[in-house]
C-alpha cells in the first residue's frame, strides 16, 4: 500500500510538472526543455530555507516557487531578447550549469544530495494525508492552467503564437507575455519541487537532469500539446511505465538508458503517427466562442 501511495504522489507531482510545461511549450510556444531545473530550484530553495534558516515549511514552499520564477526570468530575459531559438540552447546550458554548481557546493548537499530536509507533515501522519494533498495540488494546477489558457491571457498567447509581428503591431508586448508565461510555468514547477523535497526529505542533483527533461517533454507530447487533460494522461502513463520496467528484473545499469530510449522513442513515434497526442487539443478560441455565443 505504501508503494501505491508513493506512486500516486510521484504521478501527481509529475502532473503539476507536465501541466505547467504545457503552459510554457504548448500554449506559450516557448521552446525550452529545462523545466526540471525549476523543479530543482524550488526543491533546493525551499529545503534550504526550512533546514538552514528555520523558515516554516508552508512559507518555504511558496518561497521556493517564487525563487524558481525569478530564476526563470533571469534565464528568459536575455535569451528571448535575441530570438526564441536561443531559449532552447540557453535553457540546456542553464540546467546543466546549475546542476554542476549544486554538485560542487557542500552546503547544498553536493553530488550526494541534500538530506534531513524538514518534513511537511508531523512525523507519524498517515501517508494518505500527503497523497490527498498531492492529488489536490495536481488537480488545482490543471484547473489553473486551463483557466489561464482559456481566458484573456490565453487569447493573447494564441494570437502571439499565430503571428508575433501582427500581435506587436496591435500594441501587445510579446516579450512581457513570454516572460510572464515562462515565469508562471516555472513557479508551478518550483512548487512541485518544494513539495517533493519536504515529503521525501531528500533530493539529489541527478534526478533533475536531461532524463527528467525528456520525461516531461514526452508526457506533454504523448499526452497532447495544448490540451487540458493530455499532460495529465501523459504523466500517469509515463510515470507508471518506468515503475513497470523495474519489475522486469533487468540489471540496474540498464534501467536509466532504457528509460531514456523509451521516452525519446515515444516522442518520435508520436510526432510521426499521432502529432496531436493521446488527448488532442480543441480549437480553444473559435470552438469556445461558437458554443457560448453562436
Amino acid at each position: 500500500m505504501d508503494y501505491l501511495y508513493t506512486v500516486i504522489i510521484l504521478v501527481s507531482l509529475y502532473v503539476v510538472l507536465s501541466t505547467s510545461f504545457n503552459l510554457v511549450i504548448g500554449y506559450g510556444g516557448l521552446i525550452s526543455i529545462a523545466h526540471p531545473i525549476f523543479y530543482a530550484i524550488g526543491a533546493y530553495a525551499s529545503a534550504l530555507l526550512a533546514k538552514d534558516f528555520g523558515v516554516p515549511v508552508v512559507i518555504a514552499l511558496f518561497a521556493g516557487a517564487a525563487i524558481a520564477a525569478i530564476a526563470s526570468i533571469i534565464l528568459a530575459l536575455p535569451s528571448l531578447r535575441v530570438s526564441g531559438d536561443y531559449l532552447l540552447i540557453a535553457s540546456i546550458g542553464f540546467q546543466l550549469g546549475i546542476l554542476e554548481i549544486i554538485k560542487n557546493l557542500s552546503w547544498m548537499g553536493g553530488a550526494g544530495g541534500l538530506s534531513n530536509i524538514p518534513g511537511i507533515l508531523p512525523p507519524g501522519t498517515p501517508k494518505l494525508v500527503f497523497t490527498a494533498i498531492a492529488v489536490i495540488v495536481a488537480l488545482l494546477a490543471t484547473w489553473f492552467v486551463r483557466q489561464i489558457a482559456h481566458g484573456p491571457f490565453g487569447r493573447a498567447l494564441s494570437a502571439m503564437r499565430d503571428d508575433e509581428l501582427a500581435f506587436a503591431a496591435l500594441g501587445r508586448n510579446a516579450m512581457r507575455i513570454k516572460v510572464g508565461t515562462f515565469a508562471l510555468g516555472s513557479a508551478l514547477a518550483g512548487f512541485a519541487g518544494a513539495l517533493y523535497a519536504h515529503y521525501f526529505r531528500f533530493v539529489t542533483p541527478e534526478q533533475f537532469g536531461i532524463l527528467a527533461s525528456a520525461a516531461i517533454l514526452t508526457m506533454v507530447v504523448v499526452g497532447g500539446l495544448r490540451s487540458t487533460w493530455g499532460p495529465v494522461v501523459g504523466a500517469i502513463l509515463l510515470q507508471a511505465l518506468p515503475q513497470l520496467i523495474t519489475f522486469l528484473d533487468l540489471p540496474t545499469r540498464w534501467l536509466g538508458p532504457l528509460q531514456g530510449l523509451l521516452f525519446t522513442g515515444l516522442v518520435l513515434v508520436f510526432m510521426v503517427v499521432r502529432p496531436q497526442g493521446l488527448v488532442p487539443a480543441t480549437r480553444t478560441w473559435s470552438a469556445r466562442t461558437e458554443k457560448s455565443h453562436g
Binding site: R155, D163, I177, W285, E290
Partner: protein, 252 residues
C-alpha cells in the same frame, strides 16, 4: 488642420536599394491620403518604417508632436498608430471577434498580474471589449461571422476583418496597406463607408492602394512615390493624369 503624423527626413537603404530617400510627409487629422506608385516604390516600406517594423538609417517620425523613434512596435501602437497588412496577418486560430478583442489598445488580458490578482477588473474589461468589438463588427458588416474562425472567411471578409481589427485601437493615425486588393462587391462599398466614417471622426488615414477608382473616390490627396522618393503630392485626379507620373507608374 492639425498634423497627426509628421515624417522628417526619413531614410532607409537595404544594401544599395534605397526604399526611403529623404521622405518628408505630414498627415492631418480627418484627412485621407493615398500613397500611389509602382511596386517597389517604397510604399509598404514607409508603413514599416512608421510602425517600427524596420528601423530607419536617418530621420524621424512624430505622432502628435512626439517622436516615436525610440519606441518599439507595440509602444507605437499604444500611442495610437494602427495598421493593416498587405498579406492580412490575421490570427487563424482565433474567431473573428477574438481577433478584434485582442487588438484593444490597452488590452487588460496581457497583464499577468491582472489575470492572477484582479479577475474582477478583467471580467469587466472583457465585457467592455466584447461590446466594442460587436459595434465594430456591425459597422464593417461582419456581425454574422463574428464567431467563425478567421481562416474560414472569404478573402474579402478577411480583408474587412483586418481593417476592423485595426479599428479596435481607436488610433490617431490609421495606415491601410492595399485594403482593396482582391475585394469586390459589397465589401468594396463597406470599406469605403468605413474609411469615410473613421476619417470624419478626426483620424489621419493613409492608404496604399493600386485601385485607382478607390483612391480617387476616397482620398483628399494623393502622394506619388517612386524609388523611395516622394515625387509629387496633390489632388489624385491631377496626379494620375500627369503623363510623366503615368509613365513611371506603368514603366513604359
Amino acid at each position: 488642420m492639425a498634423n497627426v503624423v509628421e515624417i522628417i527626413g526619413l531614410r532607409k537603404a537595404f544594401g544599395g536599394i534605397v526604399v526611403a530617400d529623404n521622405i518628408n510627409l505630414q498627415l492631418a487629422a480627418g484627412q485621407v491620403v493615398g500613397l500611389i506608385g509602382p511596386n517597389g516604390a517604397g510604399k509598404t516600406s514607409l508603413f514599416n518604417l512608421m510602425t517600427g517594423v524596420i528601423a530607419p538609417d536617418a530621420g524621424s517620425v512624430l505622432l502628435e508632436g512626439r517622436p516615436l523613434d525610440r519606441c518599439k512596435i507595440y509602444a507605437r501602437a499604444r500611442r495610437g498608430l494602427s495598421r493593416t497588412w498587405q498579406n492580412l496577418r490575421l490570427f487563424p486560430s482565433l474567431s473573428v471577434i477574438d481577433n478584434l478583442i485582442v487588438a484593444v489598445r490597452e488590452y487588460n488580458g496581457e497583464k499577468l498580474m491582472n489575470v492572477l490578482f484582479a479577475p474582477g477588473s478583467l471580467a469587466r474589461s472583457e465585457r467592455e471589449y466584447r461590446e466594442k468589438a460587436r459595434q465594430v463588427l456591425e459597422d464593417t458588416g461582419l456581425s454574422a461571422v463574428a464567431d467563425k474562425a478567421a481562416a474560414d472567411l472569404t478573402f474579402g471578409q478577411q480583408k474587412l476583418v483586418g481593417v476592423a481589427r485595426a479599428l479596435m485601437n481607436d488610433a490617431r493615425c490609421l495606415l491601410l496597406d492595399e485594403p482593396m486588393a482582391g475585394v469586390e462587391g459589397q465589401a468594396y462599398e463597406i470599406m469605403q463607408k468605413v474609411v469615410r466614417k473613421v476619417a470624419a471622426s478626426g483620424v489621419a488615414i493613409c492608404v496604399v492602394e493600386h485601385n485607382v477608382a478607390f483612391i480617387r473616390d476616397l482620398c483628399d490627396e494623393g502622394v506619388f512615390m517612386f524609388a523611395g522618393k516622394i515625387l509629387a503630392r496633390g489632388e489624385v485626379g491631377t496626379l494620375i493624369s500627369d503623363p510623366h507620373l503615368t509613365e513611371l507608374y506603368f514603366g513604359t
